[in-house]
């Protein structure tokens, strides 16, 4: 399944922030994690991750530092800042609202008798 570009762009912020919330990481590892978490459904073009990371850095949501990795290559690690954590919480609330709305809509469209019971509506969202 190919996810459209706008959706990928919109979801990249919470996904990257969430992955960095698990611990500091760098580009390749972040992409790897996205593949794992999405079961391969969200395949980003590798190069596109970096402008996203740089934007988050400019906004102060993440901080970057250079480290020397094995093989003496310089590698840029990213760390979530307090601000980024707050942003992640905010993103989470917004996405939950979108998610809840969409679930309601899918249920509405579902022919009666087969409600989308596999997707229970989160309480309070």
């Amino acid at each position: 399944m190919e996810i459209n570009k706008d959706l990928v762009a919109a979801s990249s912020t919470p996904i990257v922030l969430a992955i960095l919330a698990e611990g500091d990481s760098y580009g390749y590892a972040i992409l790897q994690r996205v593949r794992d978490l999405s079961g391969g459904r969200m395949a980003w073009t590798d190069g596109m991750l970096y402008p996203v990371l740089h934007r988050l850095e400019r906004l102060g949501h993440v901080e970057a530092r250079w480290e020397v990795s094995t093989g003496r290559r310089r590698r840029r690690y990213y760390r979530l800042t307090t601000r980024g954590r707050a942003q992640l919480a905010e993103e989470r609330r917004q996405w939950q609202a979108v998610d809840a709305t969409l679930r309601g809509i899918w249920r509405m469209l579902e022919p009666s008798g087969h409600p989308a019971s596999a997707f229970p509506l989160p309480a309070g969202a």
Binding site: Y28, D46, P51
Partner: protein, 456 residues
């Protein structure tokens, strides 16, 4: 493990890929390093999975994505890097040729219009010598509306914005001309000085177009202002040469061109040059390296050294600052220079490189300017009641306060950046957010000072 033959070819391939990346203006060396680390790791993982290195390289490059798209994304995020290319945007030669002449024609037409506009009041019997006050107060109104119009046309601003900008100019024209200024009074001089500063923000809003709300948009305007200033100075030098030439040549044949120079060449040239300089800045950005940051890098250490020495001399000799003269104005100039140095070094700084020696120098410069200014302010505060609150003194104090607040907070943000607990982007944001303050203060001086100080 790859055989040596393979390793060599992989390195060669990566070299080639790197040089492809480096050709993209929007992708800087640090980004290439970051992307290369990614590519190498991808290749390593794929070869571990059993692929040959050349296959692994191909797959890794493919996964990285099309260079054009990546470069576009980088450009969108780092608009500062592409500032130079904004104008000459279409890279295909045909597109470029189609755009530049129209731009040039409009700019030169407007320059001629500005030059003509300067002479319009002469039709109503106002001449430069007799009505210097009128010309002083209105100087910017001959030029800046046309400059704003140029950008309104270039950026295709919507009607609403254009109307607001026009309203701002109309208001400026009203306030510059309705007050009954005393001849050669200081409030008139203050108006003449502050109208252009307030209106420069209006130019900025037109220049940045829809990007005025973004830090990057306002920063581009700051860059534009610096380059425009440099171009203007260069053109003024050329103009001086032209004037000297004219005088010498015509004197040899017994004609004195002095009147022509004073009432035509200088005023019209000075007005038209602004528009030509603005067009040049936009059109020639890719031709020369941005000058303002270069000069900044040269002069920041020198100014820092002078200020530190000054403070040292102040301590050693124990001399107070002589405030009998308008010393505050001198200190305002120092703060303006320091602010400009700060602004243009921040504007050219790669926001993602870590603090270096130059940043330390910058902090020394700002802090020593703050200390020097504090000494002067202290001396003035002690005697302000004897000196009295004249219009000039209040205006100078106001400007000093505005600059002091700006620099003090910049110093705090910069020190935080040096200590690794903040990014340079904060300084940039603070500086660009502060721009309207200058205009607001200038508008206040223009609108409120003349009546407050009895038009004296």
């Amino acid at each position: 493990m790859a055989t040596p033959g393979h390793a060599v070819s992989l390195e060669a391939q990566i070299d080639e890929w790197r040089s492809f990346l480096r050709r993209r203006q929007a992708i800087h060396a640090v980004d290439v390093t970051e992307l290369e680390d990614h590519l190498r790791e991808q290749v390593a993982v794929l070869t571990d999975a059993g692929l040959a290195t050349d296959e692994a390289f191909l797959v890794a490059v493919k996964r990285m994505g099309a260079l054009d798209e990546i470069s576009r994304e980088f450009a969108r995020e780092h608009s500062d890097r592409l500032w130079k290319q904004l104008v000459v945007a279409p890279s295909e030669p045909g597109g470029r040729q189609a755009i530049v002449p129209t731009d040039a024609i409009v700019a030169f037409a407007l320059a001629v219009a500005a030059a003509a506009l300067v002479k319009v009041p002469a039709l109503f019997g106002l001449d430069l010598d007799g009505d210097a006050g009128f010309y002083g107060r209105n100087a910017s109104l001959f030029v800046l509306p046309l400059l704003t119009g140029y950008f309104a046309w270039k950026r295709q601003l919507d009607r609403r914005t254009v109307l607001w900008l026009a309203a701002a100019f109309a208001a400026a024209a009203v306030f510059a001309n309705v007050y009954p200024f005393a001849p050669e009074g200081s409030t008139e001089v203050l108006t003449a000085l502050h109208v252009p500063i307030a209106l420069w923000l209006v130019v900025g809003i037109a220049y940045a177009g829809t990007r005025w709300n973004e830090v990057a948009g306002r920063m581009d305007f700051v860059r534009f202002s610096g380059e425009l200033f440099i171009y203007y100075v260069l053109m003024a030098l050329g103009g001086g040469l032209l004037t000297a030439f004219t005088v010498v040549m015509f004197n040899t044949i017994g004609i004195n061109p002095e009147t022509f120079i004073q009432s035509w060449l200088l005023p019209c040239g000075a007005a038209g040059a602004v528009l030509v300089a603005a067009w040049l800045v936009e059109a020639k950005q890719s031709v020369i390296e941005n000058m303002a940051p270069v000069l900044t890098r040269l002069f920041t250490p020198l100014f820092a050294a002078v200020l530190v020495t000054f403070l040292g001399a102040l301590l050693v000799t124990g001399h107070g600052v002589d405030i009998e003269r308008d010393a505050l104005i001198d200190f305002n100039l120092i703060l303006v220079v320091v602010l400009a140095l700060l602004l243009y070094s921040v504007s050219a700084r790669d926001p993602r490189s870590s603090p270096g020696l130059f940043d330390g120098m910058q902090v020394v410069l700002v802090v020593s300017a703050l200390v020097a200014d504090a000494v002067a302010l202290w001396a003035i505060a002690a005697r302000i009641t004897d000196l009295g609150f004249s219009a000039n003194r209040v205006a100078a104090l106001g400007v000093n306060a505005i600059l002091l607040i700006n620099l003090a907070w910049s110093a705090v943000l910069y020190v935080r950046f040096l200590r690794g607990s903040g990014s340079i982007g904060r300084v940039e944001r603070w500086q660009t957010d502060y721009l309207p303050v200058y205009a607001a203060w200038s508008a206040l001086v223009v609108i409120a000072f003349p009546p407050l100080f009895g038009y004296a």
